[in-house]
Amino acid sequence: MQNFIDAYSAVNLSYLLRGLWVTVEVSVVSIFFSFIIGTLLGVARYVKIKYFSAIVGFIIDLIRNLPLLLILFFTYFALPNIGIRLSVVPASIIAMTVFESAMLAEIIRSGIGAVPIGQMEAARSNGMTYSQAMLQIILPQAFKKMIPPLVSQFISLVKDTSLATIILLPELTQHAQIIYGQNVNYTIPMFVALALLYFIVNYALSVGSHVIDRKLN
């Protein structure tokens, strides 16, 4: 018990929370960008533009089938190679965005596929262009249905930020490791804190998604 009291000192807690902040920051920014890019990729894959969709599809499949750890390595070490030197936070955001965009593209493609074809035909026969119909009719319906898988993918993203400890992103897990690395008695308290903090963030996400889901459907 004393270990818990010592481990949760103000210094350690604020250090953990600073880590949590980086986790949230990287997650939110990555969710934002990967949602946009993932939607574009998902649409590109769905509309079947000759060659292009096939190439996009293949790249998406490559990224989806690789461990995120490898993508983190590649991004972190590849960016300076093409003349961009970024610190670890933006580099992690880019890596997470690349990986999550590919994961989201699949969800969005199948979401669009689940909207009945009749909807598109009806919209077109009412004089809408293909793009108009896609943006105004199909995508809104698809997103409504996609909320649960999208949010569970976002939860995965929050969890996956922990893997960026491998390139020393100063996020929650890494901060906890540093604290228990300096005092072995803090091991259990730190894992309890990790479990709780990740749980709170992710559970809030999933509760939020249920609320939105219920309102929309």
Binding site: L62, N65, S162, Y180, A195
Partner: protein
């Protein structure tokens, strides 16, 4: 790049072997544990449902790395000696079991309620009806997603690299460090992962298309 592969053939293949071994063990074990918790989640008794739900929600919301590190770091300090491969495989199992529980629960839920009622009115007990009538139908729904879980397992097993688990990613890190040729090494490692995951993912897509039609 070819150079890295040929000169480090042994460690790479053994790493791939450990990756597959860990993934297979975790798939089988998490299928069993996941099914048990799925059954808890649909039990008649409320407190049993609460236990099942709590487990699934808790595990689903915690990173795999945290679960794995907990087994690697805490369990040997207080309970029993456990190497990185074991800790990693247990971590993978527990993490995946929560997802499989959800899939199995959804699979059982997709079997029409009338099936269970019909079986019960024909004199079968709840367990008999579950095992003989509902399960076989649920499995058809669950199997395609198991393939996807296996792909996830192969990718996720790279956390073994954090706990000296001798998997492909671990060997890749050691080779990269020894040869100073980071890029080529990780390219080779990436290709080896893809050799396993890509064909599987295309096969799963094919299966999903054709099973859903049948």
């Amino acid at each position: 790049m070819i150079n890295i592969f040929t000169t480090n053939f042994g460690p790479l293949i053994s790493g791939l072997g450990y990756t597959l071994l860990s993934s297979i063990i975790a798939l089988v074990a998490s299928l069993i544990i996941g099914t048990v918790f799925a059954l808890l989640e649909i039990s008649h008794k409320k407190w049993v449902r609460v236990i099942g739900k709590a487990y699934v929600e808790f595990i689903r919301n915690i990173p795999l790395l945290v679960i794995t590190m907990a087994f690697y770091v805490i369990v040997p300090q207080f309970i029993v000696q456990m190497d990185g491969f074991t800790a990693g495989t247990i971590g993978l199992t527990i993490y995946t079991s929560a997802f499989i529980a959800e899939t199995v629960r959804a699979g059982i839920g997709a079997v029409p309620v009338g099936q269970m009622e019909g079986a019960r009115s024909n004199g079968l007990t709840y367990t008999q009806a579950m095992v003989q009538i509902v399960f076989p139908q649920a499995i058809k729904i669950v199997v395609p997603s198991l393939g996807n879980q296996f792909i996830n397992l192969v990718k996720n097993s790279s956390v073994l690299a954090f706990v000296a688990g001798f998997d492909l990613m671990y060997q890749g890190k050691l080779i990269a460090a020894a040869t100073f040729n980071t890029f080529d090494t990780y390219l080779v490692v990436g290709v080896l992962y893809l050799v396993v995951t890509m064909p599987m993912s295309y096969a799963m897509r094919y299966l999903e298309k054709h099973w859903s039609r049948a």
